[in-house]
Amino acid sequence: MDVLTPRSLEQALRLKAERPDAVPIQGGTDVMVELNFDRARPAALLNLNEVAELRGWSRQNGRVWLGSGLTYAEAMERPLAEALPALAEAARTVGGPQIRNRGTIGGNLGTASPAGDALPPLLVCGAEVKIASVRGERIVPLPDFVVGPKRNVLAEDELILGVSVGGTESRQTFMKVGPRNAMVIAVVSLAVRVDGDLRAAFGSAGPVPTLVRAGLGDVDSFPQRVAEAASPIDDVRGTASYRRHALRILTRRALDRCLV
């Protein structure tokens, strides 16, 4: 297996164009699990850790830009945590400290798991994913980016540059139900934002993280609508009926928190 380590974004895009079979790796918290369990044997890894352009975050025209290399640990730090509190809360529930030091927002988008912890907070904040290749750049709204369980719209020569999110400083929160108190993949997760309208996005309760919107007048019926929007399954972590039930309860509690 080849490990390709570009030093700049330009090099990275060129390598990805030359070796479309190379799997991008940043923190490795998903990719290495696949390799260790022998579920994937890619011909090459594209190591993005040395690409400075993908790191960090910044404010841009009232929105926040998150580089795809932004780690969960960085998302938990102020002032970013104050700008995007739901994302910070979600980041705190990811794995243990070592995982949070390594795992990245870009990796969460690339894996596109239904249980991706960063995805619900990004969804309620209107995230737009910026994608690049040697052919150019394009911007895809997050709901259109994830197209199925662990599937996204990336072409084989494309890389995720980062996401642009709005809704900063709005009332927002994140909740996660796990079978124990730490180091868990969500049984169900939920982000809610109240800012002109009601927005909820849930994870682990359908094939893809899903956004539900309603007017401010629909507070009472909103928890039920969110639960109905889910299409959960039974698995080793929990039952479909519990997931629906929990979504209803969590949505109500999240609304209470945001509407104080």
């Binding site: 124990r180 080793v236 929990g238």
Partner: protein
């Protein structure tokens, strides 16, 4: 004098009649309470080595030329091998040997559970072995598995005889009752998941074999592997210096040791066979599931007049059937008790002992039912337990060697009295409550067990015995006992253990028996050495032996004389004083048991079903405490493991195929530090005056026993919901809440109708 006795030997609640040669145990008893070293809070003598990664575990061992093994395990719960082709594996890169069902008894062509070993490959690296094992071609005839325990009982598919027990007359007792409660309880399969997976390294050298193994019983491995290999036992050397947990699952050689031995023989190389984490979750033993259909009956004054139960143990394909009915028979003074235990044989992975096997499960059922009875009687649950206190072992009317459960209850009072305060913490959906449960278990240990001790001219001592420290702090406890008896500082004692070729026979580390079995032997060896030192000192200083003693590294005389110990031992130069000691017999005609009570504080989110354990107070009576700090860590470990059993851990099987779905530590959920409550540990440190020269019992198992019932009873106190099944997942919690609500509605309806 050596004495031959016929006695009952007990391990994990299983008895057998054996001949044992015992030495008299004539030492004076130490006074109760903390002494100079014994009873103090002592950090582990090997703590630093463990923290630095210097302690040598079997998993650390790298022998020159060592090969690695991958085991092909059955993907089917019940099947027959029609044909098996090992050649593709033999020709794979790095492979040195491949064995199949024709080559070894431990490899089967008729697997009876998913994970049953079928073939094994030894290669230069584990990866090569694994890749080669995947190339083995098997043609299967897949058969219908038996997976349902109740169905197994109907078909009379058992691993051993159905066990019936009755004392008094259960039916008559029931007839005279004012209040009767009945309930069905279920407990799940949980997996030990020791940090160090099951493994052995086998190396044929000289004219025998050396087995490095992660084990709880060096001498048991030596005996069974000698038998298996047809070797004289002393040609089998067994070594285990440090061990990453066993919890009952590492008492025997398993399949991995015979596999490694066979592959080592064929390749003339050392061979490691280590289970992977996934194999650990499938084929390393488990605490089997149980179904318990229980009845408890009392008169209005709270007297238990009948206890009865049908206990189904879903043992698995093989193994033994633990005494799930034990607590019902032993914990209370009830005249009429009837139990039946069905040892169901199923096409599921075999059970292995797991920290108080049977009693953890049985205590959950019994102690929950007793609280349901208390509610119906309108009697305080603690009071109900006191009213039915057993002063002797009611299964055979033997007296207890000691029992301080009443003292445990007394010490629980201040915690139990906080009930109103705890309930008043309830806010919104979070309901708070408090519950308790009692504990009864074995833990007396027994003979035979031996220790040697040598004291050098520098006045330092080395304890030599071929026991194992399974991670519980045995090295430290044994060093404390030797230091106390010899009157020397703890850091002047070293403990050499873990090697059958270097030291005498030592007991199994299971059934909470290490300290009560080995401790007295170590003290007796130290006393033998001390006697010799005093004999020499008497001659050196022209004094009578009876006026001399050893204290604080000094030889002291009753008239105030004092000489450094080295003034006598130094005379020896390279010579040594050798002491030897043996474990004396258990008290004849007495039942030796451990007791305790735990009080749990919980909070329940009645909307989401989340259960949070806020605090557990554990009060146990295990006789004299050797290391107060080590004991506390055993209590904490037991409670944390118990919380996993109660709230989150469950092996998940496919009910149609018997395949194991939870094979990783993501799917199989052990508690993390974020799930651990405040733990308050109190030990009733009263030596058992009939038991050995120490008066110590074991503490490894007792703390896990009452955890589930205490938590479930606290949940009832908080919410009125009756938990009937473990683990208490959010789904189970919501089910119990709905049921409680329906019951309440029915009660109100009935009241309104009147």
């Amino acid at each position: 004098m050596a004495r031959l006795i016929r006695t009952e030997k007990e391990v994990e609640g299983r008895y057998e009649e054996v001949w044992i040669v015992v030495d008299e145990d004539a030492l004076d008893r130490w006074p109760a309470g903390p002494l100079t070293t014994v009873g103090q809070r002592v950090p582990r003598v090997d703590g630093l080595a463990r923290a630095r990664g210097q302690a040598l575990f079997t998993a650390d061992l790298q022998l020159p030329g060592m090969l690695h093994t991958a085991v092909l395990r059955s993907p089917y719960a019940r099947a027959r091998v029609i044909s098996i082709d090992l050649e593709p594996a033999r020709s794979a890169f790095g492979v040195r040997a491949v064995i199949g069902p024709a080559d070894l008894d431990q490899l089967t062509d008729e697997p009876g559970y998913v994970g049953h070993a079928v073939a094994a490959v030894a290669a230069d690296t584990f990866g090569q072995a694994q890749a080669a094992a995947e190339r083995i071609v098997v043609e299967w005839d897949v058969l219908e598995p038996l997976l349902d325990a109740d169905e197994a009982v109907r078909q009379e598919s058992f691993v051993s005889d159905v066990a019936n027990y009755e004392r008094g007359d259960f039916e008559r007792g029931l007839g005279g009752a004012d209040v009767v409660v009945e309930a069905e309880y279920r407990t799940q399969v949980v997996v030990h998941n020791s940090l160090e997976t099951h493994q052995a390294v086998c190396h044929w050298e000289d004219d025998g074999i050396t087995i490095y193994i992660s084990t709880q019983y060096i001498w048991g491995i030596r005996a069974s592997m000698a038998d298996h290999l047809g070797l004289p036992p002393d040609k089998v050397r067994v070594i285990c210096h440090a061990m990453g947990g066993g919890f009952g699952a590492k008492n025997s050689p398993g399949d991995y040791t015979p596999i490694a031995a066979e592959l080592a023989k064929r390749t003339a190389r050392p061979v490691r066979c280590a289970l992977t984490r996934r194999e650990e979750n499938v084929a390393a033993g488990n605490r089997n599931a149980t179904i318990q259909r229980l009845t408890a009956a009392a008169t209005t004054d709270g007297t238990l007049v009948a206890l009865g139960g049908d206990f189904v143990n879903a043992v698995g394909y093989s193994g033994w059937s633990a005494t799930t009915e034990g607590p019902m028979k032993m914990l209370y003074a009830c005249d009429n008790v009837r139990t039946t235990q069905y040892p169901a044989k199923l096409n599921l992975p075999p059970m292995a002992a797991f920290r108080a096997p049977g009693f953890v499960e049985g205590t959950f059922g019994l102690e929950c039912l007793l609280d349901e009875l208390a509610v119906k009687l309108g009697i305080d649950p603690l009071e109900l337990r006191r009213m039915n206190y057993a002063d002797s072992d009611r299964t055979d009317d033997r007296p207890f060697s000691s029992k301080n459960l009443a003292e445990c209850y007394r010490r629980a009072e201040p915690h139990w009295a906080k009930r109103d305060e705890v309930r008043a913490r309830s806010r919104g959906p979070w309901k708070h409550g408090i519950g308790l449960a009692s504990q009864i278990w074995y833990g007396g240990g027994g003979p035979p067990s031996y220790a040697w001790i040598r004291v050098g001219s520098d006045g330092r001592a080395q304890v030599v015995t071929a026991m194992q420290d399974i991670g519980t702090g045995t090295r430290t406890a044994m060093a404390q006992i030797a230091a106390e008896e010899l009157g020397i500082p703890l850091d002047h004692v070293q403990v050499s253990l873990g090697d059958s070729a270097r030291g005498p026979f030592a007991s199994i580390s299971a059934g909470s028996s290490t300290v009560p079995s080995m401790g007295p032997a170590v003290r007796s060896a130290a006393a033998d050495a001390k006697r010799q030192i005093i004999e020499i000192a008497a001659q050196r200083f022209h004094l009578e032996e009876r006026v001399l003693d050893l204290r604080d590294g000094q030889i002291v005389s009753t008239d105030g004389g004092s000489w450094p110990l080295t003034e006598v031992t130094g005379l020896l130069e390279s010579g040594q004083i050798l002491g030897q000691g043996a474990r004396g017999p258990n008290p004849a005609g007495m039942q030796v048991l451990t007791f305790g009570v735990q009080v749990a504080e919980v909070a329940v989110d009645v909307e989401t079903g989340e259960v949070r354990v806020d605090k557990i107070v554990a009060i146990h009576d295990v006789g004299r405490v050797i290391n107060a700090l080590g004991a506390e860590s055993q209590v904490e470990g037991g409670i944390i493991q118990g919380i996993g059993h109660t709230l989150s851990e469950e092996r998940i099987d496919d009910p149609a195929t018997g395949s194991i779905l939870s094979r990783t530590l993501d799917a199989y959920r052990m508690p993390t530090i974020a799930d651990v409550p405040e733990i308050v540990s109190e030990l009733v440190d009263i030596p058992d005056e009939h038991l050995t020269n120490l008066g110590s019992k074991g503490l490894g198992e007792p703390p896990i026993i009452p955890v589930a019932a205490a938590i479930a009873n606290a949940i009832r106190d908080a919410t009125g919901a009756e938990i009937r099944s473990l683990p208490i997942t959010r789904e189970e919690m919501l089910r119990a809440l709905r049921e409680a609500e329906a019951r309440e509605k029915e009660r109100r309806g009935a009241a309104a109708a009147v």
